[in-house]
């Protein structure tokens, strides 16, 4: 597969390490009342869709960016690649 890195352009997916569902960005915040059950849900349950999937890839053999790649799990087509940091910010994560 080829991942079109937002900073570096098209790169072979073999340069990357895969982590999983980009929902892993949405770590519950215990300081805002998140419970153990929330962490269980976060840590263990997955939509695992057959279709479009936002997922985390790390450019391990490259610039060390974490990316959010929107990829179709049926066709492997990639429709969007973003810096995970931007996605995290857009989802309200900060410090």
């Amino acid at each position: 597969m080829i991942i079109d890195h937002p900073l570096l352009g098209p790169r072979d997916s073999a340069e990357f390490t895969y982590k999983g569902d980009a929902r892993l960005i949405d770590r519950p915040d215990p300081e805002k009342g998140a419970t153990a059950h929330d962490f269980y849900d976060y840590g263990y349950l997955r939509d695992n869709p057959a279709g479009w999937h936002e997922e985390l890839w790390f450019h391990e053999a490259g610039d060390r960016s974490w990316l959010v790649v929107t990829r179709n799990t049926l066709t492997h087509e990639i429709s969007k690649v973003e810096l995970a940091r931007d996605v995290a910010r857009s989802r309200g994560r900060s410090k």
Partner: protein, 416 residues
């Protein structure tokens, strides 16, 4: 019809006119006591044991395509019970024991071949871990033996011990491990179940569950609604898609595992060998093909195909330990969708919905588990209580912190 050597001879002499279909092709009935979704190895085994061991009646297996078309028809055929952890070892040993008597039990030669499996050791830390595992097996009454490199060389004289990047420091052997003719497992169970009255319904895709007041009343299918008192799901890589119809999210991701077979060769591999410092394992089929595999591709997918980097990775591993295989040719490669769970171990449990049961999360280890999975799932469906050897395979183990993590990789499925 009972199969035997005499029967084969009789049919040969009378023009093979007497052979009958291995299973019927029935129309679905309006209601069953038990519906199993998924006509793969696990689903068919479940139906077989439900009928045979638990004397259940009015059972149907619903398969969206052709039976045996999932992972039971696309794996590397290995059976073994060389597990470490308490939650796993008795279950897999039960499975191996069932394999040992399976063909006589279901009267179909699945070519269960206990030719032995050997895990190569390449470092002291790996040896320590394998000794711990081998001891766990022995303490469970399971066979395990440490072999020296010299003993291994006797069986595999062409193993690269002279120029190995990661030296071979021995191996953990389970002599009762081996291989099975994988398609025959599906067919044997199907035939055995069918002859006991189970309706095996192919080309019948489940498109939804009918759930009222927290109880499952049946399934919507491509061939209409079929009612059921109990519904058991055994659909491996399709688990998340199926259970989404019941609004369930699972501790499972779907990944592709590629497998490979070479052209037919005269026998060179007496048993199964796994490389401990790379991703490669190999055996040789009775037909002569080297059957081998390695790691999963590592990204979520439902496509039954993988990509080139893993193909290369696997063949690099192969060449590292068997440089004589360089002149053998890879004939065919394919992919199967693995229901990779969050701790690498399976789930056989009731769901929170009455009458809806789940079997899945087998990762890439489902084939060897087929008989025990069928037996334990049948037990659960028939008796509403887990089989004693499958008590750990609960849904709630993740929330409670009772993971069964053989590899110690944590909640990242692609690392198991």
């Amino acid at each position: 019809m009972r199969f035997s050597g005499l029967r084969v001879i009789k049919e040969a002499l009378t023009g093979h006119k007497g052979w009958t279909p291995a299973w019927r092709d029935p129309e679905p009935q309006a209601h069953y006591d038990i519906i199993i979704i998924g006509g793969g190895g696990h689903g068919l085994a479940t139906a077989y044991y439900l009928a045979k061991e638990f004397k259940q009646k009015r059972i149907a297996v619903l398969e969206k395509g052709w039976i045996g078309g999932g992972n039971v028809g696309r794996n590397t055929t290995i059976i073994r019970s060389n597990y470490l952890l308490d939650g796993n070892e008795p279950f897999y040993e039960m499975s191996l024991k069932l394999w040992e008597g399976l063909e006589q039990d279901f009267n179909f030669n699945a070519m269960v071949s206990q030719r032995g499996i050997l895990n190569l050791i390449h470092s002291d830390a790996q040896r320590d871990a394998f000794i711990r595992r081998g001891n766990a097996m022995r303490l469970n009454g399971v066979d395990a033996e440490m072999l020296t490199t010299a003993q291994i060389k006797e069986r595999y004289p062409y193993l690269n011990t002279e120029d190995a990047r990661f030296p071979i420091k021995g191996g953990l052997a389970q002599h009762r491990g081996g291989t099975v003719r994988h398609d025959a497992v599906a067919w044997g169970y199907a035939r055995g179940a069918d002859s006991r009255g189970v309706d095996i319904i192919q080309n019948c895709e489940v498109t939804g569950f009918k759930i009222e007041n927290g109880k499952c009343l049946g399934v919507e299918t491509s061939r209409g609604f079929i009612g059921a008192t109990k519904v058991g799901c055994a659909v491996a890589g399709s688990s998340s898609r199926l259970m989404a119809h019941a609004n369930m999210r699972l501790p499972i991701e779907s990944h592709v595992l590629q497998a490979f077979v070479s052209e037919g060769l005269k026998p060179v591999m007496p048993g199964v060998v796994t490389f401990g410092a790379g991703h490669f394992y190999c055996s040789q089929s009775d037909k002569g093909g080297l059957v081998f595999g390695g790691d999963i591709d590592g990204y979520n997918t439902y496509a039954q195909r993988g990509n080139l980097p893993v193909v290369e990775d696997v063949c690099e591993g192969g060449m590292a330990i068997f440089p004589a295989f360089g002149r053998a040719r890879l004939l065919r490669m394919w992919g199967g969708i693995m229901d990779m769970s969050m701790d690498g171990s399976p789930i056989i449990d009731k769901t929170h919905i009455d009458g809806l049961y789940f079997n899945g999360g087998w990762c890439y280890g489902g084939f060897k588990a087929t008989p025990a999975s069928g037996m334990c799932f049948a037990h659960l469906l028939a008796r509403d209580a887990p089989h004693p050897n499958a008590t750990a395979y609960r849904f709630d183990r993740f929330e409670k912190g009772l993971m069964i993590d053989e590899k110690g990789m944590g909640n990242q499925p692609n690392l198991h």
